[in-house]
Each structure stands twice: as C-alpha cells, then as structure tokens.
C-alpha cells in the first residue's frame, strides 16, 4: 500500500465514522462531480475522435 493510498484510506474511514452528515454530503458531491467531469471528458474525446476520423476519410478522397 503506497503512503498516499494509506492516507486516503485513513481519511475515508475516519471521516465517514466521525462526521456522518458531512460524509453523506461529500459522497453526493463527489459522485455528482465525478459524473459531470467524466461526461465532459468522454464527450470531448468522442467528438475529437469522430472529427479526426471523418477528416482522414475526406482527405483520402471518400465522398460520404
């Protein structure tokens, strides 16, 4: 176990046991924020991939 992971584990375990309301809010906020960030990241990656793929095809003379 790396020191960073050990510290994170300690924090998660102690914080969730000591501050239930703050922990519940943190869970909701963390899950929602992660979802939004991931949505944005995959959206960006997918748009870029589709754009580059169709540009490559057009450059190769494909009339689609």
């Amino acid at each position: 176990m790396t020191p960073v992971y050990a510290a994170l584990s300690d924090f998660l375990k102690n914080f969730s046991a000591s501050y239930p309301l703050a922990w519940a809010l943190l869970v909701i906020a963390a899950v929602s924020a992660t979802s939004l960030v991931l949505y944005g990241v995959w959206e960006l990656i997918a748009t870029q991939l589709i754009y580059r793929y169709s540009r490559r095809r057009k450059a190769s003379g494909w009339k689609g």
Binding site: L12, K13, S16, A24, V27, V31, S35, L38, R57, G64
Partner: protein
Amino acid sequence: MFFPNAGVDVNPFLLLLLGLITGVLGGFFGIGGGFLITGGLLVFGLSPIFAVGTSLALVLGSSVVSMLRHRRAGNLDFKLGLLLVTGTVPALLVAQWLAVRLEESGSAGPVIRYAYVVFLAALGVFIIHDSWRNRHRVKAGEDTVSTAALIRRVQALRIPPHSIKVPGVGTVRTYVALPKSGIESVSVFVPMGMGVLVGFMAGLLGAGGGFIVVPALIFLMGVPTEVAISVSLFQTTIAASMGTFLYSLSNHVDLLMAVIMLTAASIGSRLGVAAIRVVIPSRVRLLYGLTLLGGALAVGLKQVSSADPGLGYLASIAAVVLLSASGAICVLLVALVFLAMRKRLGPAP
C-alpha cells in the same frame, strides 16, 4: 485492492467490468440497474447493506451521465419528468416505510419478494408478446404498441379540478402539452398519479422504479420509447440521490469503489445511449422484455436459495445468470453501435 469503508479486497478490473455493463444497460434501457450491481457486489464479497448503498451511489452517477447524454440527443422531456417525480418520490418513501414494517411482521416479506418475481416476469412476457404481435407493422416502418386504445383513453381523461388558483399568478389550468412526448394535452394528475403508482410499487418491491416507469410511460401514456427511457433516468437520478444520501448517513457506501465503477459506467452510458439511435424502438422493447425475464429468473433463484440453506448455491447461479445475460446484451449493443458507425462513416481508406 483494499477498500477501507467496505473492508474488503476486490480486483478493480472486475469493478470496472461491472461498471461498464451497468452503464451500457442504464443508457440503453433507462434503468438504474440496482439489482445487477447489488448482485455483482455481493459476489465480490461485500455485505448486503454495503452492496445496496454502494450500488445506489453508482446508479446515481451512471444515471446522471446517461441523462445528460439523452438530454443532448434531445430525448429528455423535463416537464414530464418533474410531474412524474412529484408523485414518485413521496410514494416511494411511504412504500419503503411500509415494506420495512411488513418485513418486520414476518409473513409478508416472502410474499412481497415472490410478488416481485411474478410481476417482473409478467411485465417481461407482456412486452415480448407486444413486440411479437406488432412485428408486421414494425416491418412496414410503423412504431406501434398494442395498448393504443388504452393510451387514447388515458390521454383523454379529464380529472377535476380543471384549474387551480395560485396566489400571485392567478388561475392555472391543470392540463399541459408535452410536445416532446407527442402529447397535445393531458391532465397533470395523470403523470402524477402514475408516479404515485410507480413509486408505491417500486418502494414495496424494494426497487428504484426504473423498470416500471419505462413500460408505464410507453404502454399507458403513449410516450415514445427513447423519451420514456430518458424520463426514467431523470426519475432514477432523484430516487438514487435520496437513497445514496440515506445510506451514506449510516456509513454504508464505499465511495472509492463507487468512483472506480463510475469511470467505466460513464463510457458504458455513452455506448448505451448511442445504441438507442441504432436499434429500432420495438427491438429496444423486445430486449427490455428479455432483460426483465432474466432479472425475474435471477431474483427467483435468489429467493429460493434464501428459503433453504441447502440451496445456497442457487444464489451464485443467479448472480452468474444475471451477469452473463447482461454481458451478452452489452456485447450485442456495442457491436451494433460499431457496425452502425462503420456504415455511416464508410469503408476504411
């Protein structure tokens, strides 16, 4: 990898796989997939209460991503979603409270669980039967369901009061137009009442309600399949956020595990929503019916195994059946998406 809150060691690749399957099915069918994730997490060694709490957190994240995708694709009827949630949420809370009391009383618990299996199977059979009956119309390019007469009657319902006085606003009619759902005018009490019914059944049966919302909107209100799926995701987001909050308060959510699964679920959601555009609505409903039947089989096996300690192996068979069937549907959907993309973009240079 050790997860401190749940106190178990789980291979993160298995969590990513479970997250991916959940995301694809959630994006495609509009269900939270709580029964699938909970089953998977139990197999991975989590205690039942942690499995439910963590699965709710994943359902919340996954449904947010899928809902945003559907919104971008123009499928989300926000107005219908709000009306539905107004009825679903209070009914869900009352029914969950009632379910706990019935469970404590002893005899009602098994009855409710078996009723859940029968209901799931009956719904699955009805949806498959409907797709089979309408297969000729589908071939002719029509998208129709066998409850068209019932839908017309439900949409034409006139429920009093027909208008209400709101202080500062004046008289407001209790009928709304839902253009995105293809409904010219409907009483607000219809979706709200449907929400109460769905929430009560879901709460009593111990589920989030996604699997009832989609068929109810399609077969009772005549909402297009893709809009019904996105509205169900909206409802699931609200219900799952409440559940996650309550389970987190009692410290039964493993945040780290949920975030790891969510990473894969967000990719899965994208693929699931993309598959909606590729698969025709009647086929979506057919696959939905098959998934419900698979779910009924798995839940039924689990109930039988809990009744007799000697049949404990049936619970493992149930989890394997559920995960295999869901995995197979995911592979099929992903293949369809890639085939459609190749067709749209043309052959490689």
